[in-house]
């Protein structure tokens, strides 16, 4: 305890008026020391615009958003870039965007097949996008129980029924999607 007191005394007793003064003798140029505005502080950094800062300090110490703080977090720039590249690449989808048309709809949509992991998810996505009901897929009969049938154009230019081939094969060969009316899909004349 005594040691601690001595250290503090030493610190407090530093006589800045004699040897180590700031500025010219006779002037009183002690900089403000920002005290407990920052201590015991439960505020997040975004709230830290301490009003006790001098004007000069304000612009530096008004906390920027995380992205703007130079050199924080302390990660080397080549390390930041690599992950950014990875993110961009996955965002670009490297060619997984396909046009989707629906019979009777006035304009086409675009859809990123990489956003889906399975036919189920794709169907859900299509149904949400076009506000239609696509129905269930049966291996023998195709789509039952709805007015709409999803088809796609494959690499060879043929129009295929969505669901026949494994998912991985589908997304690597699908060039565009078309949601047909089910009566047309079956080649029936009356709808």
């Amino acid at each position: 305890m005594d040691h601690k007191k001595t250290t503090l005394d030493l610190f407090n007793n530093v006589d800045l008026a004699t040897e180590l003064t700031l500025g010219l003798p006779g002037t009183d140029n002690q900089p403000e020391i920002i005290k407990s505005s920052l201590s015991g502080n439960k505020r997040t950094s975004s709230e830290m615009g301490s009003s006790t800062c001098t004007d000069e300090n304000e612009s530096r110490f008004s906390p920027p958003t995380k992205e703007q703080v130079v050199g924080w977090p302390p990660v080397r720039s080549y390390r930041k870039n690599i992950l950014q590249v990875k993110k961009t690449e996955s965002e670009m989808g490297s060619g997984m965007y396909v046009k989707v048309s629906m019979d009777g709809a006035p304009y086409l949509r675009k859809l990123d097949l990489k956003m889906y992991q399975s036919y189920e998810e794709l169907m859900k996505g299509l149904q949400v996008m076009f506000k239609c009901i696509i129905g269930l897929y049966f291996e023998r009969e195709g789509y039952n129980g709805s007015q709409h049938v999803p088809t796609y154009e494959d690499k060879d230019g043929d129009w295929m029924l969505v669901g026949d081939v494994p998912w991985e094969m589908f997304i690597s060969s699908c060039k565009r999607l078309r949601i047909m009316k089910s009566c047309e899909a079956r080649g029936l004349g009356d709808c």
């Binding site: 250290t7 700031l22 020391i33 502080n41 080397r76």
Partner: protein, 589 residues
């Protein structure tokens, strides 16, 4: 009674002193020992290139074979040191070329190295063997071509995390066919493709090759060829670890890896395709070092690899490993000494992965030899820090980065003072500490009181007042490097502890409250220090005395003023000649 050993005996005894500190101590014993020692010192380490100038060095040590120099301060890694600040190695290289024709090894860290420097190195030193450039910049592949073409006896070319101006990948082809001495090649930081056939031929004619770290452009399919040519490799870094999934590629890769019986270090793994990871399983149990920090793949895939690495001593990984993966580390890697976890998405506030303080606590419990930690995470608690400190009192290096500045204990919302206090109190051998989160002056009080072996301290967004800085400067007896950013520390503590700065290598303070006037005063009063004000604002001379400077970098030096400063760097309080310091130089110190 006086006695003295014959010179040959002294020289022989000194040859057993390898640490520079020991040699420095020996040279202080008496004039004879000083003279004897300086003639036979072969290896030189200069921790701050501006602490001493080349002339002083070569005057004292005439027979040097290996030099290691460090330039910019550590915070330069995070873009806090403006471009052009300094750390130019050219003047050193010129002196070495003049005086040390038998120089064999050059190791540089955070220095500016030009192509001209590399050309001089390649031609001036007949027996040049080792070039290690760590976080350096300023050179291009032309400089590398000169090294490749001219260094007949080169053993090590190691470019660690350098910024290279890449004009072409052709430089590698400049190694002549007669060149067979290569032991270590690290080109991982380069982004341009090098000629694979040149690389393959180089590897084939290098029987002593132990380390090969490729860059991202070397495709996975070609790795097996290289490994087959160099089954003696101890340290291998892959290129991009991705390819179409093909059984033939997989099996030759797997076979090639299993042929590497001496492989202990593995790294690379950019763009990893998880299906190819099992190809390394055969070497996992041999590994002592594994760097998966570019492997952007999920925890289960990482766990499959790590769970086989029973002898791992150093692990570097992304936070994709998650707490679950770290539990595996804790159970499997009983010999672990060092753990590094980098953030995969550092700028996103919300956690993208399930990595918390729990993972670190788990490893601290399970890995009894753990000494060194660098951990990025989004939440921390005092109780976790206390647990870690009690589990691992043998920690020597503890660097924790909580991504959000000033983040409190997420459970109690209190500052993390007590947690870090526990670290310094229990880990008595701690030599390096980096802190983050919400911290008051309290934590500095603990550090000043307990961290007696602390050599390096990094602080950001912490403290309340000058008292914090004072605790550290007055209490940490072993402190040599202190770097501070965005803390409310000003003049008082700095000036009160001015003499402490002479016992340290350097002090960095940026975005703090150190005034222009205080810097001037310190520079005037302390001729043994360079007080560099680094400030990019215009009209710095018009700055009022009490205005805070952007950055100040203070280091002890016998070299005086440096002559290569850009206009945004001012050395305070010295006249242009630095007369006082030059006279010290003439005394041969």
């Amino acid at each position: 009674m006086t006695y003295s050993f014959p010179e040959e005996v002294l020289e022989h005894v000194f040859s057993f002193l390898t640490s520079q500190n020991d040699r420095n101590a020996a040279s202080l014993v008496c004039r004879t020992w000083y003279e004897m020692e300086r003639w036979c010192r072969k290896r030189i380490f200069v921790g701050n290139c501006y602490a001493v100038n080349p002339r002083v060095l070569i005057r004292r040590f005439p027979e040097v074979k290996a030099v290691e120099l460090k330039g910019k301060p550590h915070f330069a890694d995070f873009n806090l040191v403006p471009e052009g600040w300094g750390g130019f190695v050219y003047p050193w290289i010129v002196e070495f070329a003049r005086v040390y024709p038998w120089l064999e090894e050059i190791r540089l860290k955070r220095m500016v190295v030009t192509d001209e420097c590399l050309e001089i190195v390649s031609k001036a030193f007949r027996n040049f063997k080792v070039l290690i450039l760590s976080s350096c910049e300023g050179f291009s592949t032309d400089g590398l071509a000169a090294v490749a073409a001219n260094c007949r006896n080169l053993r090590v070319l190691d470019l660690r995390e350098c910024e290279v101006e890449e004009l072409s990948g052709h430089w590698l082809s400049h190694f002549p066919d007669s060149f067979t001495s290569l032991e270590s090649l690290n080109i991982a930081c380069l982004s341009l493709e090098v000629s694979f056939s040149a690389l393959e031929r180089l590897v084939s004619r290098s029987p002593n090759l132990k380390t090969l770290r490729l860059n991202r452009t070397v495709p996975l399919e070609k790795i097996s060829k290289l490994l087959q040519r160099a089954p003696q490799l101890a340290d291998f870094g892959t290129g991009a670890y991705s390819a179409e999934i093909r059984p033939d590629v997989y099996s030759s890769l797997q076979e090639a890896f299993s042929g590497c019986k001496k492989l202990k270090s593995l790294s690379g793994f950019w763009d990893v395709v998880p299906a190819y990871l099992p190809a390394v399983f055969s070497v996992c149990s041999q590994l002592t070092y594994l760097n998966l920090s570019y492997a952007t793949t999920q925890s289960p895939d990482l766990i499959k690899v790590i769970s086989q690495c029973h002898n791992l001593q150093r692990l570097v990984v992304l936070d994709y490993i998650e707490d679950m993966g770290l539990d595996t580390v804790a159970v499997t890697c009983k010999d672990l000494r060092e753990l590094v976890v980098f953030p995969s998405d550092p700028f996103v506030a919300d956690a993208n992965v399930l990595l918390t303080e729990e993972g670190l606590v788990s490893v601290s419990q399970g890995c009894s030899k753990l000494q060194s930690v660098l951990y990025f995470c989004r939440q921390m608690s005092n109780s976790a820090l206390i647990s870690i400190s009690k589990n691992r009192p043998n920690l020597t290096c503890f660097r924790l980065c909580i991504l959000e500045p000033r983040a409190p204990d997420y459970l109690t919302f209190e500052p993390l003072d007590v947690g870090f206090g526990s670290i310094v109190e229990n880990c008595k051998e701690l030599t390096r500490l980096s802190m983050s989160g919400l911290l008051t002056d309290r934590v500095f009080e603990y550090i000043g009181k307990h961290a007696k072996k602390l050599d390096m301290l990094s602080v950001a967004f912490a403290g309340d007042s000058d008292l914090g800085l004072h605790h550290v400067l007055s209490g940490c007896e072993s402190l040599r490097k202190l770097e501070i950013r965005d803390c409310p520390f000003g003049d008082k503590a700095l000036l009160a502890n001015a003499s402490k700065l002479l016992t340290m290598r350097s002090l960095w303070m940026s975005s703090c409250f150190v005034s222009f006037g205080a810097c001037k005063l310190l520079g005037q009063k302390m001729p043994g220090l360079n007080v560099e004000v680094i400030d990019e604002r215009e009209n710095l001379n018009l700055l009022p005395e009490n205005a805070p400077v952007e950055k100040v970098y203070i280091y002890r030096t016998v070299s005086g003023q440096r002559l290569d400063m850009p206009d945004f760097v001012r050395i305070m309080g010295k006249d242009k000649n630095g007369v006082y310091n030059l006279s010290l130089c003439d005394k041969g110190l």
